[in-house]
Symmetry: C2
Subunit: 199 residues, 2 copies
C-alpha cells in the first residue's frame, strides 16, 4: 500500500519546514524501492496549494503546487509546515480544508508554527502539542485549550503529531517513517540522507 503524503505550501512557508518532510518521505520511498523493488513505494509525496498559482516561500523561493485543494484527492498523511502563518490563520478556506482533510486522513502532522494552523482547525483541543521554542507562548495564548509543551522534539498523540522548530520536521518525519514503515526503513533513510536522526 502506498500512502499519499500531502504537504501544504503557502506564501511565506518556511523552506526547511516543507523541504525536510519532502526529503524524508521521498527518500524513504526510494530506499524502500531499492530494498524491495517488486513492492509499491510506501509513500507518494506531493505539495498541495490552495490553488494552482505559484507560491512564494519565505525569503523568495518560488514553488508550483503539485496539486490544489480542489484536485488533491486522497491524502493519508497531511503535513502542515510553518513559517509566517498569520495570513493563513485568517483564511477560513484554509482552516476548513485542514480540518476536513485531517478528519479523513490517517495522520496529520505539523512542523514549527504549523501547529498554530492545526490549533485553529481544532485538531489540538485537549491534546499535548509543541511548536518552535519562540512560539510556545503564542500557541498557549491563542489556544488555551491546547496543552502546550516545550523541550520536546515532537509529540505523537496518535492521529495528530506536532514538532518543534524548522529542522525538527526532519526528525518527526523519520519517526513517522519508523512508525508506518518500520525502524529499519527509517534508519536506512536517515543514513541515505547522511543525517544524525534525533530520536
Amino acid at each position: 500500500m502506498t500512502r499519499s503524503v500531502g504537504i501544504y505550501i503557502f506564501d511565506n512557508v518556511e523552506v526547511l519546514d516543507f523541504a525536510g518532510p519532502y526529503e524524508v518521505f521521498t527518500c524513504a520511498a526510494r530506499v524502500a524501492g531499492a530494498l524491495a523493488p517488486a513492492t509499491p513505494p510506501p509513500f507518494a509525496v506531493r505539495t498541495i496549494g490552495a490553488g494552482h498559482a505559484p507560491v512564494r516561500a519565505r525569503a523568495g523561493l518560488v514553488l508550483h503546487p503539485e496539486a490544489s485543494f480542489a484536485d488533491a484527492g486522497r491524502i493519508d498523511l497531511l503535513i502542515v509546515p510553518g513559517g509566517v502563518v498569520g495570513a493563513e490563520l485568517a483564511r477560513p478556506d484554509v482552516i476548513r480544508w485542514i480540518a476536513a482533510t485531517a478528519a479523513a486522513a490517517e495522520l496529520t502532522a505539523s512542523v514549527c508554527t504549523g501547529a498554530l494552523l492545526l490549533a485553529e482547525a481544532g485538531l489540538l483541543d485537549g491534546l499535548p502539542a509543541t511548536t518552535h521554542w519562540e512560539d510556545l507562548d503564542a500557541l498557549r495564548a491563542g489556544w488555551p485549550q491546547v496543552d502546550v509543551q516545550g523541550g520536546q522534539r515532537w509529540i505523537d498523540t496518535g492521529r495528530v503529531i506536532t514538532s518543534a522548530g524548522i529542522s525538527a520536521g526532519i526528525d518527526m518525519s523519520l519517526h513517522l517513517v519508523a512508525r508506518l514503515g518500520g525502524q529499519a526503513l527509517a534508519e536506512r533513510s536517515a543514513r541515505q540522507m547522511d543525517y544524525d536522526w534525533r530520536q
Copy 2:
C-alpha cells in the same frame, strides 16, 4: 556588505541539497537583521536556473528559478547542490557556467554529488574533496586528479568547499556563515532553526 548567494537548481536536484543551504543563509540574514536592524543583511539568496523554465526537483517538486545564467549578475557564494547529476555533467553550458561563475566568486561550495559538477568544471584539481558516501568511488574513478576523502562532514580548501551527503549541506552552510559572519551568528542561526549543528 551583502553577499549574493546563488544556488544552482536543475531537474532532479535533491530537495534537501538546495533547501538546506537556502534555509541557513536566509535564516542567518534574518537573525542578523534582528541583532543589528540598521545594517544591511549579510546574505541575499536566490535560486539560479540555466534558464527561466520551471525546474522539477527530485521526486517531483516544481521550482521556478529566481534568476537564470543570463541575468544572475554578481554571485559571491556559488552553491552547487547534488541529486541525479548525470544529465548536468553532460551539459557543456552548465559546466562552463559553473567554471566561469566560480572564477569570479568569493567561494564555491557543493553539497553531495554537486562535487561531481565541481570536479567536471576543473575546480577540484589537486584538492581534497568529499561527496555523498555512496558516490566517493564515482568521484575517484571519474576525476583521479581529485584527492577524494570520506568520513568528513565538509572540506574547506579556502575558495572551494565540498560537503558530504544531502543533510551535510546544512552543516557546511552554517560553517560558511561562521567563517563569513562570525561564530555567534552561525550558532544563533542554528538555534533559530532548532538544529544541532555538527561542527
